[in-house]
C-alpha cells in the first residue's frame, strides 16, 4: 500500500444561499476505504462533489492525484482516473442496464466497441447484474438501480472512487457482496464512501471521517472512534434516565449510551454506532429518528 496522498483538501469552504455546507475543511486521503459519516446537511455530499470535480469550492485548494485541476487538460486527466456515484441519479427512458453503463463508458473515452462491451460486462458482473443487464433500468428494483449506478463508477478500475450512499435500497445479501467488491477496490484505489449506515463503515472502512454542519468532528481509524465509547455503553432492564440515548433491543434489554456507565451496570462491547451517537449527541439522535 503506497503512502501517496491521492486527495488533499485545504481550507475548503462552500456556502449555499446563506447556509454553510463546508467550513474551512482540511482533509487528505490515501488509498484505502474511508467512510464519511454525518447527519443530513453535514456536508458529505458537497464534499464528494468537490472531490469529484463536479462542484467548485468558494475558497480553499484541491489537489487530486498529485495535481491541481485548474486547467481543462488537468481536469480531463483527473476525470480519467475517477469514478463518481451521485446521491441521486436518474436514468434516461428506454435505457437498459447494459446500455446505460455502455453510455457511461463512452463518456469515459472507451471508443472501441469490443473492449468497451467487455468492460461493461466486467463491471456489471462485479455488482452481480449480468443476468438483468438487458432489462430496462426503470424496470429494475431500487437496489438493482443503485447497483447499476455503482457499476458505472467502477469502469476502468479508477484510482479514485467517490460513492454517495452506494448501498441505499440494496438488500442485505447484496450489501455483503458489495462490501467485498469495494474492499477489494480499496486495496489499490482511494475509495470515499458517504453513508448513513454505520454497519457499512464498521465492516468495510479502515478510516472514518465524521462531518457535522460543515466541520470535521472526527478523522481517524474506525477502531479509534469505537474506542471512544469504551465503558460508556451498558445494558439494563429499563431505560436509564442518565443515558444520552437508550433503546430497547431485540433481547428485551435496554441499550444505554451515555457519558459513563453507572457502577454495577452491565457493560457491553461498543459499536461504531454507539461512538457516533456519543460524538454527535442530540444532533445525531434527532436526525436518526427522522431517518
Amino acid at each position: 500500500m503506497t503512502t501517496t496522498t491521492t486527495v488533499a483538501l485545504t481550507g475548503i469552504t462552500k456556502r449555499y444561499r446563506g447556509t454553510t455546507a463546508l467550513e474551512a475543511v482540511d482533509l487528505s486521503f490515501k488509498p484505502g476505504v474511508t467512510g464519511l459519516l454525518g447527519p443530513n446537511g453535514a456536508g458529505k455530499t458537497t464534499l464528494l462533489r468537490i472531490v469529484a470535480t463536479v462542484l467548485a469550492p468558494d475558497s480553499g485548494s484541491v489537489r487530486l492525484l498529485g495535481r491541481s485541476p485548474a486547467t481543462p487538460e488537468a481536469l480531463a486527466d483527473v476525470r480519467r482516473r475517477l469514478g463518481y456515484l451521485p446521491q441521486e441519479m436518474g436514468f434516461p427512458r428506454g435505457f437498459t442496464g447494459f446500455g446505460f453503463v455502455d453510455y457511461m463508458a463512452v463518456l469515459k473515452e472507451w471508443t472501441a466497441r469490443a473492449p468497451r462491451h467487455d468492460e461493461v460486462r466486467r463491471v456489471l458482473d462485479l455488482v452481480d447484474l449480468g443476468d438483468v443487464s438487458t432489462k430496462r433500468v426503470r424496470a429494475l428494483s431500487g437496489g438493482q438501480r443503485r447497483r447499476v449506478a455503482l457499476a458505472q463508477a467502477m469502469l476502468g478500475d479508477p484510482d479514485l472512487m467517490l460513492l454517495d450512499e452506494p448501498t441505499t435500497g440494496v438488500d442485505p445479501e447484496q450489501r455483503v457482496s458489495l462490501r467485498q467488491v469495494l474492499s477489494r477496490a480499496g486495496e489499490h484505489s482511494t475509495v470515499l464512501l458517504s453513508t448513513h449506515q454505520t454497519e457499512d463503515v464498521a465492516a468495510l472502512c479502515d478510516r472514518v471521517v465524521v462531518l457535522d454542519q460543515g466541520h470535521v468532528r472526527f478523522d481517524g481509524a474506525v477502531v479509534d472512534l469505537v474506542a471512544t465509547a469504551a465503558g460508556r455503553v451498558w445494558l439494563a432492564d429499563a431505560p436509564d434516565p442518565g443515558a444520552r440515548a437508550s433503546w430497547r433491543t431485540g433481547t428485551g434489554k435496554h441499550r444505554n449510551v451515555g457519558l459513563a456507565a453507572p457502577p454495577g451496570a452491565e457493560p457491553t462491547v461498543p459499536t461504531l454506532e454507539d461512538a457516533y451517537l456519543l460524538l454527535l449527541g442530540d444532533r445525531a439522535l434527532t436526525t436518526e429518528a427522522a431517518a
Binding site: R17, V54, L55, R79, L85, F98, D102
Partner: protein
C-alpha cells in the same frame, strides 16, 4: 407420450458423430423433442467450445442496444460511432420528438397558409424557436438525468454540446423549411427566419456558459414572443424580419459566437449545481 425408454449413450455418441442410421437418427430426434433428460445427456457428447463461441455472439447481439434512427443517420454522414451514441441520446433527437415536431410544424404551416395574419404571426413565432427548444432539450441539468455524473467524465462537454446542437439544427431546420413553403407569398421570408433562428441558437449556447440552457431558452422565447406579438398587433407580422432587424440579428449572432468561442472552456459550470 411418456416413455420410460431413453436412448443409450452409444446411440447418442453415434448420432453426434454422424454415424447413426437415418431412421435411428430420426427416432432419436423425435424423442429429444420430448425428453429433457436425454437432451441433457446428449449435451455431454457435443463439443462445448463452438457453442460457447456462439453464445458470446448471441449475448453481444442481444445486449448491445440497437442504434436509433438518428444514430444511424449520424454514422452514415461520418460521425464516429461512439460520438453518435452520445449525440443521439439527447431527448430532442429522439424519433418521438422529431415526429412530434413534424406534426406541430404541419399545423403551424397550415395555419400560416389559411390563417391570414394571425397564422403568419404564429409561424414567425414558432420557426426561430424550434432550434432553441431543440437545444434546450438536448443538454443541461433540467433535461438530462445524467448531467451530474456526466460532468465528472473526461469526455469534452463543449464537444458534446456542439455536436448535439449541430444535430438538432440538421434535423429541425429542414422540417421548418418544408413548413415554410406553405406560407403564402413567401419570397425572402421563406428563409429570412433562419437568421433569427441561428442567432438565437448562438445566444443560447453562449448563455449556457453562465446558466442552464432551459433558462436561456425561456428568456429568448418570451422576448421573441413579445416582439412577434407587438408586430402582430400592429397588423404587420413581417416587421420582426425587417432589414434593419436582420442586421441586428446578424451582429448579435456573431457576437454570441465570439463569446462562446472565448468562454467555451468554462462550459462546465461548476458552480451552477448549487
Amino acid at each position: 407420450m411418456k416413455t420410460t425408454w431413453h436412448a443409450d449413450d452409444a446411440l447418442m455418441a453415434r448420432y453426434v458423430s454422424g454415424n447413426a442410421g437415418s431412421l435411428d437418427g430420426a427416432s432419436l430426434e423425435q424423442h429429444l423433442t420430448r425428453c429433457s433428460d436425454c437432451r441433457a445427456r446428449i449435451a455431454t457428447h457435443v463439443d462445448v467450445e463452438p457453442l460457447e463461441m456462439v453464445w458470446g455472439r448471441v449475448r453481444e447481439q442481444v445486449q448491445a442496444p440497437a442504434p436509433s434512427l438518428v444514430e444511424r443517420l449520424l454514422i452514415r454522414v461520418g460521425v464516429p460511432a461512439h460520438d453518435a451514441l452520445l449525440v443521439a441520446a439527447a431527448p430532442s433527437l429522439r424519433t418521438s420528438w422529431l415526429l412530434g415536431l413534424a406534426m406541430t410544424l404541419g399545423f403551424v404551416g397550415l395555419g400560416a397558409a389559411y390563417g391570414g395574419s394571425r397564422g403568419l404571426a404564429l409561424f414567425l413565432l414558432v420557426a426561430p424557436l424550434v432550434p432553441v427548444a431543440g437545444v434546450a432539450f438536448a443538454y443541461g441539468p433540467d433535461v438530462d438525468p445524467l448531467y451530474e455524473v456526466g460532468v465528472a467524465v473526461p469526455y469534452s462537454t463543449p464537444r458534446l454540446l456542439l455536436l448535439r446542437t449541430a444535430a438538432v439544427l440538421a434535423t429541425s431546420l429542414p422540417l421548418v423549411l418544408v413548413a415554410s413553403l406553405l406560407v403564402p407569398g413567401l419570397s425572402w421570408t421563406a428563409v429570412t427566419w433562419l437568421l433569427p433562428a441561428l442567432t438565437f441558437t448562438a445566444v443560447m449556447l453562449a448563455a449556457s456558459t453562465w446558466t442552464s440552457p432551459t433558462v436561456a431558452a425561456l428568456v429568448l422565447g418570451i422576448a421573441w414572443a413579445c416582439s412577434v406579438g407587438a408586430a402582430a398587433l400592429d397588423q404587420n407580422p413581417y416587421a420582426v424580419l425587417a432589414p434593419f432587424l436582420l442586421l441586428v440579428y446578424a451582429v448579435l449572432g456573431v457576437a454570441a459566437a465570439l463569446v462562446l468561442r472565448v468562454r467555451i472552456r468554462s462550459l462546465t459550470p461548476l458552480g451552477s449545481l448549487s
